[in-house]
Amino acid sequence: MIRTSLAVLVIDENRIRASIIEAGLREAGHERVTVVHDVSGIARRIAEIEPDVIVIDLENPNRDMLENMFQLSRAVKRPIAMFVDRSDQASIEAAVDAGVSAYVVDGLRQERVKPILDMAVSRFNAFSRMARELEEARSELESRKVIDRAKGILMKSRGLTEEAAYTLLRKTAMNQNRKISDIAQSLVTAAGLLGPAEDE
């Protein structure tokens, strides 16, 4: 259980991902969560928030700047910004794989920080999965369009019905051990090269 709540600062230029992480932190009982998308003026924000933990995505090129500022903002106590517990290589690796790194003030106990990091990692993974599914759906749509165009070309040039055109594409794909969308793409490309403006 959380005894006194920790101030958590989430820095992520990706607003959707940041809000997913924020929601997770709130669900986990962390009330004092601040999300920042833009690092301009971040020094003042760090001074105001005095975060105990900063969660930042690894792709942020301002990581060096933030790391330095975080150390400077705590300069009075000369803390060391930490990734996660030095001994826990596996959790570091998981965090880095997930693209999340966390800076934690020295003296803050590992067991209090680990749930935050774990949550950020799992939220990050959820976001990556979402992004991947979106990408797959998009490419699915793309290949369907290509197949439609290829069918159109076959129907026009060989006088086939739509069903026959599709069967021919599928048979060719099977014979060549390739995907239908690949065969369709080759056909569209070839038609583009050979014919005058071959359109559906």
Binding site: D64, M65, N68, V96, Y103
Partner: protein, 408 residues
């Protein structure tokens, strides 16, 4: 098929990653039986942490960064060694046009002379302070960087206290030009092409260069995870040979066009090849139409540029002590001494019969003219290597050097 060794390496989009990039892209690594996988990174912190946890075997690194790792100044405890230096020189100090005008009013001229520019900047800084204005803000790329230490060295030698009289902030190299144009910083010290880029954009003026602050001074290195280097000594030695051939190719003036085109690709710098040429030719546009050619502006190979001199790491150590980054203790000194590994460089390159220095350290700043030195195999010419303020760094007199270098 199949390469004998697979090596994963990180790099930052800076021209001085060229020796590593060319080794991978132009076949030097493949010829040594290495499949070199290059990852472009977005921050030095990523590079450092990914080496520490084993994502990278080695990387393009800031010269003082492996020291910082070994001295416990970084979040993850990891031992990083330096078996190869990626080059000498290559950085500049650039200021905004407004700051340059004020410096010019105090006697600065476009000749890159560090003493003259530093005096003018100091006069301007004091004028601002007297008028109650905010201190100037300068950016460097990382606290544990050659940039931070050379900017501080320069200012301190010119009578400016970099801790009290200016503010030093961290900005990633590709953002320097924009930050300067937007007025968020007044000047910066960074490697190329991020100085010439500001001049080309008409937003900055180059006031001095690393090669004039300390001629033939160390810059980026290959930092390797010590545990990996111990497990894979053959892979490391093969890579050092590949880097040696790559560095020789990069230094050859006949290859400048091809090298600039390679680095201009979006996967590397993504900057126009023309913007990169100043680092290769030393012919710099300074801003306002002024230009200067700097001898030995950037050396990827010449003058023993790839030898990991212990005196280089020890000089970085003295500056870390000077600016309060680390305490000067016998233990820390020993760590700094052991970080750069000329022994590994020597044993890897010995079979090639190339010139190798006989010593592991040298007195920095002592060579006023180019000097042939005793070396194994072939002739080797070092220097000149003077600091602009005439100081000499003798690695055998560390205590005295540190004592002589308190804040100005």
């Amino acid at each position: 098929m199949g390469a004998e060794h697979q090596i994963t390496a990180g790099f930052m989009p800076l021209f001085d990653s060229a020796v590593l990039v060319a080794a991978g892209e132009l076949g030097f690594a493949a010829r040594e039986g290495i499949d070199l996988i290059l990852h472009r990174e977005t921050s030095w912190a990523n590079i450092r942490d990914r080496i520490a946890i084993g994502h990278f075997d080695l990387a393009h690194m800031l010269g003082p960064m492996p020291l910082a790792c070994n001295l416990g100044l970084t979040p993850l405890a990891s031992e990083t060694i330096v078996p190869f230096s990626l080059g000498l020189g290559g950085n500049c100090v650039t200021v905004s046009n407004a700051v340059w005008e004020s410096m010019a009013a105090h006697g600065a001229v476009s000749d890159l002379d560090p003493a003259r520019a530093g005096a003018a900047l100091g006069a301007f800084i004091r004028e601002r302070a007297a008028a109650g204005r905010e201190p100037l803000r300068f950016a460097v790329v990382h606290p544990h960087s050659g940039h931070n230490y050379e900017l501080r060295y320069w200012l301190a030698a010119c009578g400016v206290d970099p801790d009290l009289e200016i503010e030093i902030v961290i900005v990633p190299p590709p953002f320097m030009t924009d930050a300067l144009a937007a007025g968020r910083i007044d000047g910066y010290c960074v490697g190329e092409p991020w100085n010439s880029a500001a001049v080309a954009a008409g937003t900055g003026h180059i006031v001095t260069v690393k090669a004039l602050l300390w001629r033939n001074s160390p810059e980026k290195v290959i930092g390797a995870r010590k545990a990996w280097a111990q497990e894979q000594p053959d892979a490391l030695a093969a890579l050092l040979r590949a880097l040696h051939h790559s560095a020789r190719w990069c230094q050859d003036a006949a290859n400048r066009g091809e090298l600039a085109a390679l680095m201009a690709q979006p996967g590397f710098l993504g900057q126009k090849a023309a913007i990169e040429m100043p680092i290769l030719t030393g012919h710099l546009q300074l801003g306002g139409g002024a230009q200067r050619t700097v001898e030995d502006f950037f050396l990827p190979f010449g003058k023993a540029a790839n030898f990991p001199w212990k005196s280089h790491s020890l000089w970085f150590y003295t500056q870390m002590v000077r600016w309060g980054h680390v305490a000067h203790t016998p233990e820390n000194l020993a760590i700094a001494r052991d970080c750069y590994r000329p022994d590994l460089y020597r044993s890897a390159l010995k079979p090639l019969g190339v010139a190798l220095p006989g010593a592991n350290a040298k007195v920095e700043g002592a060579l006023k003219v180019a000097t042939p030195v005793g070396s194994a195999g072939a002739s080797l010419v070092l220097g000149p290597d003077g600091f602009f303020d005439g100081q000499i760094f003798d690695p055998d007199e560390i205590d005295a050097y540190i004592a002589s270098q308190s804040h100005p």
